[in-house]
């Protein structure tokens, strides 16, 4: 009887109290957590005699590639003594920000870059982790003040065209023709392709995809005349909807498809050349340091990734009859080919 009474008292008195305390404390805990994320790494309240430079690392939303890129940036800045304070900003979550305090705004990803450009900031802007063709289209669509190239620069995600061809050369030395479909941004690739094909003794077959039409039709025009099919990061041609058809067509024709990302290789491309976001972040950190050292007065020219990586879809390789593909040798040969290039 006594035990039952005590249980009843515990249930009727302590449980409501516990719930009440929890409700009061939880919002405060959440607020502190948000502050840590939103507030720059260096507390603003900390007194510093020379006001340190402030760099904003801006993303739009979250993605593993963004995180890897941020890690790369931070790791590249970490060892340096003279470095700017950096602040991570997720445009999707934060409240209106006072951008004036940032000497440099690093926009990670095409969406973040697009949003920053839409803001029309006067800050120096460094766009990273976006293909060259996208960068060009954003800048083209942005305010004129960005078109001079003084306030904005980029570190591209995609590789210079020569590296693709080098890869083709290294992978299939017997290949003579390379089919490439070009869409709305065909001009970005046309000239480099023309320049490089001779370098690698390859003949590029262009297939133009008209707006509103399926790229498979264009593919049909070139696939029978190509030994290798090269996919370029032009979303008007190669997007998630067109890729299945392109992959199936190339597979059926037995034409190896060279992709531009790890995802493409996993989707069915024979092989591809790409740079990992973390390495791209590291390259970005080096750019930031350089800008920092120049006191944010001048921005470097947009650049392709310094490093690259290669993957092979061995299943596709076996299907297409490629045997004993060795990645290291491929890397080595590509490295030999691409020395000094900067397309």
């Amino acid at each position: 009887m006594r035990l039952a009474l005590s249980c009843y008292v515990r249930k009727t008195i302590f449980l409501p109290l516990l719930v009440l305390v929890s409700c009061l404390l939880l919002p405060q805990i959440a607020a502190s957590s948000n502050d840590q994320q939103a507030v720059p790494n260096t507390p603003a309240t900390q007194p510093a005699s020379p006001k340190p430079a402030l760099v904003a690392l801006v993303t739009h939303g979250t993605h593993s590639s963004y995180d890897a890129c941020l890690i790369g940036i931070r790791s590249g800045l970490q060892a340096e003594k003279h470095k700017p304070d950096i602040t991570s900003i997720n445009l999707k979550n934060t409240q209106p920000i006072s951008w004036d305090k940032f000497q440099l705004v690093v926009a990670i990803g095409s969406k973040a870059t697009s949003e920053i450009l839409k803001l029309g900031l006067d800050n120096k802007i460094l766009a990273v982790l976006l293909p060259k063709i996208t960068y060009n289209q954003l800048v083209y669509q942005a305010s004129d003040k960005y078109k001079t190239g003084t306030n904005i620069s980029a570190v591209y995600l995609d590789q210079p065209v020569g590296r693709y061809l080098a890869l083709i050369n290294a992978l299939a030395p017997q290949a003579k023709t390379v089919g490439v479909m070009l869409g709305e941004g065909a001009s970005v690739y046309e000239a480099p392709l023309d320049e490089s094909q001779h370098l690698y003794q390859l003949q590029v077959r262009h297939g133009y995809v008209k707006k509103g039409l399926s790229p498979l039709k264009a593919l049909g025009t070139i696939i029978d005349r190509s030994d290798v099919l090269l996919a370029l990061p032009d979303t008007s041609v190669y997007n998630s909807n067109t890729v299945p058809g392109i992959l199936l067509s190339s597979y059926r024709k037995g034409i190896p498809l060279i992709g531009f990302s790890r995802a493409y290789i996993r989707a069915g491309a024979l092989t591809g050349i790409y740079t990992l976001p973390q390495e791209l972040g590291y390259q970005t950190s080096q750019k930031i340091l350089a800008i920092h050292q120049q006191n944010y007065q001048k921005l470097p020219q947009p650049a392709f990734p310094d490093s690259f990586d290669i993957s092979v879809n061995y299943q596709v390789a076996r299907s297409l009859g490629f045997k004993n593909v060795e990645l290291n040798k491929l890397k080595q040969r590509i490295a030999e080919h691409v020395k000094g290039e900067n397309f």
Binding site: H60, G61, H63, S65, Y66, G109, S110, K111, S114, L129, L130, T134, L138, L157, S214, L216, K217, G220, A231, P233, T235, S236, Y238, N239, S240, N241, T242, V243, P244, G245, L247, L248, S249, G259, S261, R262, A263, Y264, A267, G268, Y274, P277
Partner: protein, 961 residues
């Protein structure tokens, strides 16, 4: 519940649930299967469509109609259910098609172009349509939110498949048919199993039932075949065990029966021997009895004949005797002879009763008259002893009854006579009362109370023993044979009654007996007293209280006022009572010698005051002088005690009728002789007397001559016949037993061949056996007269048969009573003497076949009685045809038991007939049959039949006598 047999029950239990379950399952599975098939068709259509949608994604996306055509061709070729396949682009235009042109429109008709897979079900087909959706593949390592071309799940076109129901329907029918046949097979299977099971159960049961029936019919060797298992087998074994037990029990019982039969047969043989011996003994006893009866009859005849003479001639002498001493001697002789006759009658009665030959008459009788007669006869004796003899018949006693008046009178006489005999003084009261009535029989009790010496309890025990009296000295003192009460007891028992006595030594006795008598249908009207005295006062004066009561009872039913005066001294008191209007005085005297003075005084008082009122006096004496004196003194009528109602009423009527002469009504004295009545009455008559005994003939002649008749005498039948031819007689007295020609033959001859055809012929016989009278009357005699003959008897007969006019009433009455009294005792039947010789005559043998019949042996076996031996032999011969027939029949059909029975019977019959050969052969055949040695039986039975024939042929030739 239904009266089903096991077969039906098992079939019902196995088939009905099976059928029901099979039907339900069949319906369920068929419907489920049909549904499944339909669903499977749909699902297959969906699966094909969706797979085709995936497969055709590239073709549609790339617009490669060739690929698509190939795809749908391949898809349709492998499936007969698919009627047609159409691939439409996202605008619903036909991209590729496989199927008949006629079906093409079906796809277009149903092209509502669904966003998801859709199934349209028609009567003969279904159309499944599903969109072809392009599936995006991520190809970039980084998100490219700016890619405007990436549209997830874009519909590229539609796949439409038309599928036929036919196959599904066929498969449904197949399913239905298969299910039907499976159910049918299952049913037949379960039915077959059930029938087998039924057979497994019923066959043993039927076999067991048959076996039990056969066992019940007695075939105990029947066994149930081991066809069953389990419990039925146990049951079958049980039945077999039971049958075995029954068989053993029956065999044991059979043995016991055979043993018992054998024992019984032996016992029967012994009993047969004993029966035959008993039969011989019975015949000897009957012979002895017959001889005794004949002896008794003869003795009776022989004794009665001389007694007849003695009494008759004594009466003749008494008529003529003048010397008082001679009269006294003659009276003594007559009394002694009469006593002797009484004793002989008693002995004859007793012997008749003992022999069971006493036959009681059933005739209308008046009990009061009977009592009156008895008391009249016995009154003188009571008067002589100055005893008050009173008769009291209660009012409810019916008067008209049916019975043997003579025997009632005999019993009553015996008891009242005894009462008078053993009473010195006082009274003897006879009461007759009705005890009850049932089944038409009136139960009457007659009590005779005396104030005599009484009987002790010890004496009572021997009272109804033959030849005994209460005291041996009694016989010496009072006389008598000691047979009276025994005879009375037997007679009363014959009348379904009882006899008893209530008595204490010295305090008197009451002897009582009961009789059961039928009522007579016709009632005699009671004579009524005229209105002259009705409603008037009647004064009864008597000093004896019982007499007073008796008198009152006699008249109280006539609507008169009765006053009783028990003392002469108080008569005056009654006479002076002014309230009385006397119409009659009845004055009784107990003893005139003592009460004469008082009596005369009372009469004088009455006459002085009531000179015209009738006065009836009752006296206890037969003295006519005294009675005449009473009449002279003023008595209207003078009666002798005891008086009865009839006489009293008659007397009253006479008193009231002034024209009637004053009479003295007296009791009849059996001692009284007929007065010398008018001989001239018969003077013109001529009669014939026939008797071979000279004395009797002479006496009869004297008696008849005393009546003034002219008598012709005949000593035998021939003489009678001769006389009858010459003279016409008024009457013929014919003795029966006579030499040369007996009375019957003579009577018949007279009746047939003489002028006396119509003459009354009276039989005379001394045979007093029962039935004698009837025998004689039926032979043609007109009447019957038992010896000894008395004048009274003759007088009555003359009165009856001879026309005469003037015989006085008194004489007639006296004669009649004498005749009745005489008939009471000697009316005994007789055994015809001619048919039964007193000793067997010496045998005279006749034996034509000594080899077959041994007369000596037969005689010895019959106890040396030739007549018995003859009878036995005749019986055997009479039985032979039947025996032979039975033996032949049994032999023919070889029914050995019947043959044994017949031979056994024959053997038994042969044992006492002096036929040794037949006996031996029958014994031999019987032994063979007993030993069941049937082989020899036919031959030996043939020999037996031959012997039977031989003995049968001797019929009438073998004579023992």
């Amino acid at each position: 519940m239904f009266k089903w047999n096991i077969k039906t029950r098992i079939l019902f239990l196995s088939l009905v649930p099976t059928f029901t379950i099979a039907l339900l399952l069949g319906i369920y599975f068929v419907s489920a299967r049909i549904s499944d098939l339909q669903r499977a068709l749909e699902e297959r259509g969906i699966a094909i469509t969706e797979n085709l949608a995936y497969a055709s994604e590239y073709g549609v996306a790339s617009g490669n109609a060739q690929v698509l055509q190939h795809l749908i061709n391949t898809a349709r070729d492998g499936d007969s259910d698919i009627i047609s396949i159409a691939i439409l682009d996202e605008g619903g235009h036909l991209f590729a098609y496989n199927g008949p042109q006629s079906a093409l429109n079906k796809h277009r008709e149903s092209n509502s172009l669904p966003s998801t897979t859709d199934v349209a079900i028609g009567d003969e087909y279904i159309i499944v349509q599903t969109p072809i959706i392009g599936q995006p593949i991520e190809i970039s390592d980084v998100p490219n939110e700016l890619n405007q071309f990436a549209i997830a799940g874009r519909t590229l076109g539609y796949i439409s498949i038309q599928m036929s129901h036919k196959e599904a329907t066929i498969r449904q029918y197949q399913t239905f048919t298969a299910t039907f046949f499976i159910v049918l097979t299952g049913l037949f299977g379960s039915g077959y199993i059930a029938v087998r099971m039924v057979r497994d159960v019923t066959t043993p049961v039927i076999k067991m039932s048959r076996a039990v029936d056969q066992i019940r019919e007695g075939r105990l060797d029947v066994r149930v075949e081991p066809v069953a298992t389990g419990e039925l087998q146990t049951l079958a074994e049980g039945i077999n065990a039971m049958a075995e037990s029954l068989r053993e029990a029956r065999e044991e019982m059979q043995q016991n029966i055979e043993q018992a039969t054998s024992d019984l047969r032996q016992t029967l043989e012994t009993i047969e021997v004993q029966n035959i011996e008993l039969d011989i003994a019975r015949k000897q006893a009957l012979d002895g009895s017959r001889i005794k009866s004949e002896f008794m009859a003869n003795m009776s005849h022989e004794i009665r004949t001389p007694l007849n003479g003695i009494i008759g001639f004594t009466d003749v002498l008494l008529k003529n005797a003048q010397n008082p001493q001679n009269i006294d001697y003659l009276t003594t002789i007559r009394k002694s002879a009469t006593n002797l006759l009484t004793i002989i009658n008693d002995i004859l009665d007793f012997s008749k009763i003992e022999a069971g030959k006493m036959e009681l008459d059933n005739a209308p009788l008046s009990l009061r008259d009977t009592l009156d007669e008895v008391l009249n006869i016995l009154a003188p004796a009571s008067h002589a002893k100055k005893l008050e003899l009173v008769a009291m018949v209660y009012a409810d006693v019916p008067d008209d009854l049916i019975g043997d008046a003579l025997r009632i009178k005999q019993v009553l006489t015996n008891i009242v006579n005894n009462a008078i005999k053993f009473t010195k003084q006082g009274s003897v009261v006879v009461r007759i009362m009705m005890v009850g009535e049932e089944n038409g029989l009136v139960n009457l009790c007659i009590r005779v109370t005396d104030t005599g010496i009484g009987i002790s309890d010890k004496q009572k025990r021997n009272l109804f023993q033959a030849f005994s009296q209460a005291d041996t000295s009694t016989t010496r003192k009072f006389g008598g044979t000691g047979l009276g009460l025994v005879i009375s007891q037997k007679l009363v028992q014959g009348m379904k009654g009882e006899v008893g006595v209530e008595s204490k030594l010295g305090e008197g006795s009451t002897f009582w007996f009961t009789v059961k008598l039928e009522r007579a249908s016709e009632q005699t009207p009671t004579e009524l007293i005229p209105s002259k005295i009705s409603s008037k006062d009647v004064l009864i004066i008597d000093q004896h209280p019982v007499t007073l009561l008796s008198l009152r009872q006699n008249i109280e039913c006539f609507n008169v006022k009765i006053s009783e005066c028990a003392s002469f001294d108080r008569v005056q008191h009654f006479l002076l009572d002014g309230s009385k209007d006397y119409g009659l005085f009845i004055l009784g005297s107990r003893d005139y010698d003592e009460e004469a003075t008082k009596l005369e005084k009372v009469m004088a008082e009455i006459r002085s005051q009531f000179p015209q009122v009738p006065l009836i006096t009752l006296l206890n004496t037969n003295d006519n002088q005294i009675r005449q004196l009473m009449l002279d003194k003023g008595s209207s009528q003078c009666l002798v005690k005891p008086t009865t109602q009839k006489r009293l009423v008659e007397s009253i009527l006479n008193s009231l009728d002034s024209e009637r002469p004053v009479t003295v009504v007296e009791a009849t004295d059996d001692e009284a002789l007929p007065s010398s009545h008018s001989e001239s009455s018969y003077r013109q008559c001529h009669v014939m007397a026939v008797d071979d005994n000279d004395a009797n003939l002479k006496l009869l002649t004297i008696f008849l001559q005393a009546f003034g008749l002219e008598v012709d005498q005949g000593s035998n039948g021939l003489e009678a016949l001769r006389l009858a031819k010459k003279q016409e007689y008024s009457m013929i007295f014919m003795d029966i037993q006579m030499p040369e020609m007996d009375g019957i033959t003579a009577m018949q001859a007279i009746r047939s061949n003489t002028i006396n055809k119509d003459t009354p012929i009276i039989a005379l016989t001394a045979h007093a056996m029962a039935g004698e009278k009837e025998k004689l009357l039926s032979a043609g005699m007109d009447d019957y007269l038992s010896k000894p003959i008395t004048e009274q008897q003759i007088s009555a007969l003359l009165d009856k048969w001879v026309t005469q006019k003037a015989i006085s009433d008194n004489f007639e009455k006296a004669t009649k009573e004498q005749n009745d009294a005489a008939n009471a005792a000697p009316a005994s039947p007789a055994i015809p003497s001619q048919s039964s010789p007193t000793a067997s005559p010496k045998p005279t043998y006749l034996n034509p076949a000594p080899d077959l019949v041994d007369l000596e042996q037969g005689l010895a076996q019959a106890g040396n009685r030739a007549d018995v031996a003859q009878e036995m032999f005749d019986m055997l011969q009479n039985s032979l045809p039947d025996a032979r027939k039975k033996i032949e029949t049994a032999l023919e059909i070889e029914e050995w038991e019947a043959l044994q029975s017949a031979v056994h019977k024959l053997h038994g019959a042969c044992c006492y007939c002096g036929v040794p050969k037949l006996k031996k052969q029958s014994n031999y055949v019987e032994d063979l049959l007993k030993q069941k040695d049937y082989e020899l039986v036919p031959d030996e039975a043939g020999v037996l039949l031959m012997l039977i024939d031989k003995v049968e042929n001797l019929k009438g030739q073998v004579k023992y006598i």
